[in-house]
Symmetry: C2
Subunit: 192 residues, 2 copies
């Protein structure tokens, strides 16, 4: 149950057996069924969540009721509303399971305790958050500069092998284009 | 010269005198004149930069030649192109001094050495990057959802006291509105 998380952490920090025990005691297992919600916009996000199995999407609903997809997550990814989690204020995102999911979660107190007991987790989360920040900056730049073709190629680079698991209208929503236009782009690149 | 940086770091981590010495040896002073460039889009960013004095802007130039301002920085802020710095690939941003600036810089090898010699810097940068990530997420949401009035209020909350130091057409560019429209918004809130 914890083997994916430990393998994931070990890519960034080295872990002794007693440290692995401490980690497994800090994370709790959670199951979601397809279409269940992990978080609703406006609620306070109580957990940081590692995806052991499954697929989720995070989206923001505007004042006009439009849905904007900000992130997908599959195995080996983290998902959550970090602002809400850190400041314990209402979440900007809703997070929904797109498949049955097996998740590992840690709450704010648990994470603060873990930083104290296992300071190398500072390094781990520094690197993880750094990568998330860089991806977020790239997304801002991409929305300013890139054509739909370029955004599609960036999507399949960022989320390899996820395309077959997500309904096409949701990929289109993430890219900010219509499903018909996405279908034309996919045909173009499939024939190359 | 290092007192602002040490005070800034001490807000997040406690520092012993010998650790302060190590830090001051790791950062190098750099001066920029108004309108000088710290980084050009397409170059590799070699430094992370702390602003001791002055004001800068980071902007991205699209394929069509449009400038998009992604960040301002004043005293006590960090500025740089983190993606370029971390991956040593071409920068997505150009960074320009809007006033004469006094900056403290650390290069990639210097920072990696500092993490090894002073692991509490992992905690410091974990928190700093976390805040930057959260600000970046808020900016994405804000560009989707907020009216120009709301974006203006978010700007003066994020950059208090910066408004008088930056040309109004650049504030307008950051907010994605015309200078004339910004002028109308400012008058409305000034009279409240």
């Amino acid at each position: 149950m914890y083997s994916f998380l430990i393998r994931h952490l070990s890519r960034y920090i080295s872990l002794e057996p007693q440290e692995i025990t401490l980690l497994t005691e800090s994370f709790k297992l959670k199951h979601l069924k397809k279409k269940d919600f992990l978080l609703h916009q406006g609620e306070v996000s109580r957990f940081e969540t590692f995806v052991n199995k499954g697929c989720l999407r995070a989206f923001h609903i505007t004042n006009k009721g439009e849905e904007h997809i900000v992130q997908f997550a599959v195995e080996d990814w983290w998902i959550g509303d970090m602002y809400s989690f850190l400041t314990q204020t209402p979440a900007m995102y809703t997070i929904e399971a797109l498949e049955d999911c097996e998740l590992l979660q840690i709450d704010k107190n648990g994470l603060e305790e873990l930083y104290l007991k296992l300071p190398k987790m500072e390094r781990f989360f520094r690197i993880i958050i750094q990568n998330a920040f860089v991806a977020s900056q790239k997304r801002i730049i991409s929305s300013m500069s890139q054509t739909a073709d370029e955004r599609y190629l960036a999507f399949i680079e960022k989320y390899p092998a996820i395309e077959q698991r997500i309904p096409q209208y949701q990929v289109a929503a993430y890219l900010g284009i219509t499903p018909e236009f996405l279908s034309r782009i996919r045909k173009k690149f499939a024939s190359k």
